[in-house]
Symmetry: none
Subunit: 434 residues, 2 copies
Amino acid sequence: MIPYQIIEKKSQGLPLTDSEINEFIMTYTKGTIPDYQMSALLMAIFIKGMTTEETLSLTKVMLESGERMDFSSAPGFVADKHSTGGVGDKVSILLAPILAVLGIHIPMISGRGLGHSGGTLDKLESIPGFNVNLELNDWQQMVIKEHVGLIGQTGNICPADKKIYALRDVTATVRSIPLISASIMSKKIAEGIQGLVLDVKTGNGAFMQTPDDSRALANSLVSIGKGYGIKTTALITDMNQPLGSAIGNWFEMEESVRGLQGDGPADLMDVTYALGAEILKMSNPDLSQKAAIDLQAKTVADGSAFEKLKRITELQGGDPGVLDNLSNYPKAKYSGAIQAHESGYLAQVDTMALGFAGIQLGAGRRKITDTIDYSSGMYIHSRIGDNLNRGDDILTVYSNDEKSLNEVLALGEEFFSIEQSPSEIPPLILERIE
Amino acid sequence: MIPYQIIEKKSQGLPLTDSEINEFIMTYTKGTIPDYQMSALLMAIFIKGMTTEETLSLTKVMLESGERMDFSSAPGFVADKHSTGGVGDKVSILLAPILAVLGIHIPMISGRGLGHSGGTLDKLESIPGFNVNLELNDWQQMVIKEHVGLIGQTGNICPADKKIYALRDVTATVRSIPLISASIMSKKIAEGIQGLVLDVKTGNGAFMQTPDDSRALANSLVSIGKGYGIKTTALITDMNQPLGSAIGNWFEMEESVRGLQGDGPADLMDVTYALGAEILKMSNPDLSQKAAIDLQAKTVADGSAFEKLKRITELQGGDPGVLDNLSNYPKAKYSGAIQAHESGYLAQVDTMALGFAGIQLGAGRRKITDTIDYSSGMYIHSRIGDNLNRGDDILTVYSNDEKSLNEVLALGEEFFSIEQSPSEIPPLILERIE
């Protein structure tokens, strides 16, 4: 195999064979093909696309590059939820303990912030001591015993994907249906799950910005899952504004806790329960949608889901007391607000710009080696359709870096558009794909 | 400037501004942008293209990244020839001494093998001791005194192009009109020449495979040259089969010597003289085409051009005795032949596949760090239109690696197609662009 010829073939838009994909990816993973050849191939795939067969081959080689978990000894349904990523999306932090309480086993392998979007691992690590790098064996035991464990991708799970994912993040090749599909699904299949619900975001804060693109991605993901014998459904949910109010790692952790304490924003809870219902119904096909939602709401009302989150925190080395005493968490040194520049209805939110503003405040990484300031972040106080008076606070921002804070504040009204007549409110859940 | 955003912009097919191109290329040249980001941008440019303005910006930043030569003190016309590259194209090795003998100053900066195509520098280096890395000052003195000097691109000439060219070679981003144009023309403009003839190859062994693409490239090159005040013409010449018979570094060196000794293949000599005539006529507009060709043929007939090649070799550290005793050169350990699988007329040659086969034999590089085996290569014994009997040798291949040799031999008839009626013989020189 000459890597050059494979890159060239794809750059011409021709489909690669299973063995070409297999050999290129395995050779890259071993370190024999350099990053610069992989990034050329990634860009060619990004622009020219891949057929369903190619995407399946890519998923397979990524999956087979590492270990596959086996939870066949777990006494019950093993499932996971995955989001394609957005701004303020903290659903995993609520849903994992809720479903664990309800008897589902959740071997959840999450990611870090990518581009403008946050990552569950970074949010969990805002709890002092929380360790997302458990030994695979310890984590498997935890999933079997506690029904849940929250870790990041280790070197043993889909190492091919891990290496490629890092490269995509810095070469503008993230937003590609085949690349996203293979990356997500290889990791999920490696978890050894029986059920999977996908939250495919759509809108100006998602990687797929139109319903058509999001639908195409959802179909790609669902068909791969089914091909591997996993019950898979997808919900296409709105990302034309942040989910909930909090953006930034500790901010989102705090909002998740409040959600589990019965005080969460309606949109966040609705999406959480809708995704959870998919898994509960896979586990028990006789369950009605209403019953599946009620079961989850009960784990919030009786405090069991919050207790589970604290238990997870404790078992993974974190301090659960932090979750009981939210107001004691270190505050950012600087804060400021962006106000409505005129009266009217909030018509649009530049959600991606808010995501990048969060990175600028310190809540994310510009390059792999950056460290995160967990106390940086923001609250959005208004939702699309809200009636605003001139001067109302729309966004409050927090940072330990005064210069960055002022730069974000200076952008001010660029994040929002206000109109004189009420605009259409985007539906929260657009579509269900199965 | 965030490199990510520039890569993303180009991947969407949007034109980059002069300052975006300038900053990205300069930052890459300094080493701050890594290869993997540059190769992603190169692939995006390769697939999405560049406007005339973008190509000019790219040429300018490459040119201005390094030194520009000044031959205004040279007593005569200063010119160069450049080929877009093909298989078996050794014209530079013949033409440089021929034109030098005829009083033209040839400050020739050549390249190495690129993709499936060979490079003049690699061929020259098959002569033991031949040094293509002269100090710029020494080379300039040699061009003024001897009328010719053959070097590679030094760190001081278009360093931006040098770095990018190496990366394109291994990322399948060679065959791009804007990238080829900027790369060629920045180096040629930096040579400080007054005249330039371009040999734009067309056919299945060229980077541009159709006459339309080749014409587009020729027009792009000629317009950049004229924009910088250089007399520039282009010939579009055939690359649907190798030029001459020899492919591989020493093999081509040897054939060049035979050409200068009056024993060269007709196609090779015709293309050489046609290109040389362009430069001679730029230098002396009163010269007829016939006179321009006769002048060159005379330098071959009287041995002066061969003497010049030996003089160049000697001055550049090589052993001219090697050129006098061709048969003493080390032979490859293994050889074999591919025969006609049926009787008929040779209809097609997969010229690019032959180029890649040469690499496989050891005559070229798969990655930057590979070393070249100068004794590896091949001879093609038939030309399109030739009448073959079943079992006739069409190709003889040589390598020091038995496994590679057998792999190439196994491809056998895939390189050639034979038909029962004589097929059209492609014209050697298709078009002249000025």
